[in-house]
């Protein structure tokens, strides 16, 4: 962290020369492009959705009817669909991801940890639409005949597990999302766990702790806020993930009653209907949905990054 400040100070002095000044201003312009884009995304989405918020106000968020024919727009079905599918994903991905991170950072010998870490990174490189294709034709039918059927059989008396599992719907979307956010949770948790000083581990082992006691009683408490950050970043991803979810969730515009129901998330509703939406209120309503998603994911991201920075310092969470 000291390198940039010293070079900046030195460079600042010599920047009085004209070509250097031009270079400095030129590169500065490009740096601010990023800031400009972020600000403009917010402004444009807000400006393009004023119509729907003027007409419906807060009932846009709480209304459960979305009917373009009757010009009634209530976003609740999509908000519920988004939250439920992401909640399923977090419920599955958080424990698996954190345990994997522990395994990679604390337990695995190097020759196991290196290829495993590599594999997890590749998991993140697979395009979303490929996950979607695989989800529709392979994972969905597989889940329907195994996990879904078992869940339905064992817990079918609970209302949310009723319904007919056919491989399409909230639960399948949740499982696909699990795979897609695992790399985020694993990579960042691993980074923050690695950043825990060795003295913490040595002290615990010296007291006669087992490896697992060392991990739960000294490593994890130290890395706690960073691990929370990793999970929240994963959640932010799940909320905004579009293609794979669109392909497996069933695209049904109604409040889901069970986790096997076809549903629609904010992102999938935009993906399936935006290009055919009429100008004016219909488009404005969809951009209004987008604004809700933007505000949610942005706040989650900011909170998550601050949490990760607390443990591992800025720069560990760029994934």
């Amino acid at each position: 962290m000291t390198a940039p400040s010293t070079s900046a100070a030195r460079f600042g002095r010599s920047a009085s020369r004209v070509p250097d000044l031009v270079f400095r201003l030129g590169t500065g312009g490009f740096a601010w492009v990023v800031v400009g884009i972020v600000v403009l995304v917010g402004i444009l989405l807000a400006a393009s959705s004023t119509q729907v918020f003027e007409k419906f106000g807060l009932s846009f968020l709480t209304g459960s009817t979305w009917d373009p024919v009757a010009a009634v727009y209530g976003a609740l079905p999509f908000i519920v669909g988004t939250l439920l599918s992401s909640f399923i994903a977090i419920l599955l991905a958080a424990p698996i991801g954190i345990l994997t991170a522990i395994f990679l950072a604390e337990l695995a010998p190097r020759r196991v940890a290196v290829p495993l870490t590599f594999a997890v990174e590749l998991l993140a490189a697979i395009p979303s639409v490929v996950y979607g294709l695989w989800g529709v034709f392979i994972l969905g039918p597989f889940l329907a005949s195994t996990v879904d059927a078992w869940l339905h059989g064992a817990l079918g008396w609970i209302p949310i597990f009723a319904g007919t599992p056919d491989g399409v719907g909230l639960f399948s979307a949740g499982v696909i999302l699990t795979l897609m956010i695992l790399p985020t949770i694993v990579a960042i948790s691993r980074d923050v766990i690695t950043a825990v000083p060795d003295s913490q581990r040595e002290a615990m082992l010296a007291l006669g702790a087992t490896r697992w006691e060392m991990i739960t009683k000294s490593v994890l408490p130290y890395a706690r806020s960073g691990v929370y950050g990793a999970v929240i970043l994963g959640l932010g991803r799940a909320l905004g993930e579009t293609m794979a979810v669109t392909m497996v969730i069933g695209n049904r515009t109604a409040l889901p009653k069970t986790i096997f129901d076809s549903s629609q998330t904010i992102a999938s509703q935009i993906a399936t209907t935006f290009s055919e939406a009429g100008a004016g209120l219909p488009t404005s309503a969809l951009i209004g949905l987008g604004l809700v998603l933007l505000v949610t994911t942005m706040s989650l991201n900011i909170v998550a990054r601050l949490l990760v920075w607390r443990v591992a310092g800025p720069g560990t969470d760029r994934r």
């Binding site: 601010w32 492009v33 989405l45 337990l107 940890a113 905004g240 933007l294």
Partner: protein
């Protein structure tokens, strides 16, 4: 290791009683096994995706799929419209994003004062976190709506916005790794700062910059959501007309997967195999080089 565990257990036995000691080692062993199982659970899906894409996609991946466009009417033909679309839109996006990202990163790493650098870096992180479908809507509002025409250029711009923060952060990082002594040596020789940055700092950081750019390129190749309302997709082969709709491999996979026609689904698998081959090849080639160093 076994001896150490035994010794530890015997000490704790004396302190807490034998059964408590045994319970602690059991918990330890169980949880360590569970962590291993969790790690396996992470890898199984990777294997499953690869195996099925290979099994269903490779047979469908023929020369026709790459060289022929879809038939105007009916089923058949290939994905040439999508292949050519990806080959145009992604490089244009790279031309927009990589120079801007690298120059922006130079400013942050070499000139910017600390607070300013933090603002830019923060915005780059926020931009990475914005769902890509919203980038699609954003570009739609200023590059599609005013012209009342979905167009390939808007698609390239949307992809460029996805790539930009990735290029910028990786470049900035590799510039920070360039030792200060190199800058000092160059400046002491009387080289002006801009030349120092361009021919000393940038050249030293080049491998890292290339890595970041290639990964961003691979990511843009697989993006679908930002293209849905910008390039839209098209059944026609479009070469060079950026003002008209254009297809791309991910769009082709998406539209064909949703048709209830088996022949089209097969084409989707073929296109997926092709896309995955290229994306994974770039990722493996680029990451394998820097991997051993990074994890140690």
């Amino acid at each position: 290791m076994a001896a150490a565990v035994a010794a530890r257990a015997s000490i704790s036995d004396r302190l807490t009683g034998v059964s408590a000691g045994r319970r602690r080692t059991t918990v330890d062993r169980t949880m360590r096994t569970l962590s291993f199982v969790a790690a396996l659970l992470c890898v199984v899906p990777l294997g499953a995706v690869l195996v099925f894409v290979a099994a269903k996609g490779l047979p469908a991946l023929s020369l026709d799929l790459i060289t022929k466009g879809p038939k105007a009417l009916g089923i058949g033909g290939g994905a040439a419209n999508a292949v050519l679309g990806t080959l145009q839109m992604v490089p244009i996006a790279a031309l927009l994003a990589i120079p801007s990202g690298v120059l922006g990163a130079i400013y942050v790493a070499e000139f910017g004062d600390r607070r300013l650098a933090r603002i830019v870096r923060f915005c780059a992180d926020v931009l990475v976190g914005i769902p890509s479908i919203l980038i699609g809507i954003f570009v739609f509002t200023f590059l599609v709506l005013p012209f009342k025409q979905f167009n390939a250029f808007a698609g390239s711009v949307a992809l460029a916005i996805i790539m930009l923060p990735v290029v910028m952060r990786t470049t900035e990082e590799s510039l920070h790794l360039v030792p200060n002594s190199l800058r000092e040596a160059s400046l002491a020789l009387g080289v002006p700062m801009w030349r120092t940055v361009l021919s000393v700092v940038l050249r030293t950081g080049l491998p890292g910059i290339l890595t970041g750019s290639m990964l961003a390129f691979a990511r843009a190749m697989g993006e679908t959501a930002p293209l849905l309302f910008t390039a839209l997709g098209s059944r026609l082969i479009n070469v060079g007309n950026l003002g008209q709709p254009m297809d791309a491999l991910p769009l082709f996979i998406y539209t064909n997967a949703r048709e209830p026609i088996e022949a089209l689904n097969e084409q989707a698998w073929g296109a997926a195999a092709l896309l995955l081959l290229v994306v994974l090849f770039i990722n493996i080639a680029v990451r394998a080089r820097s991997f051993g160093r990074r994890i140690g």
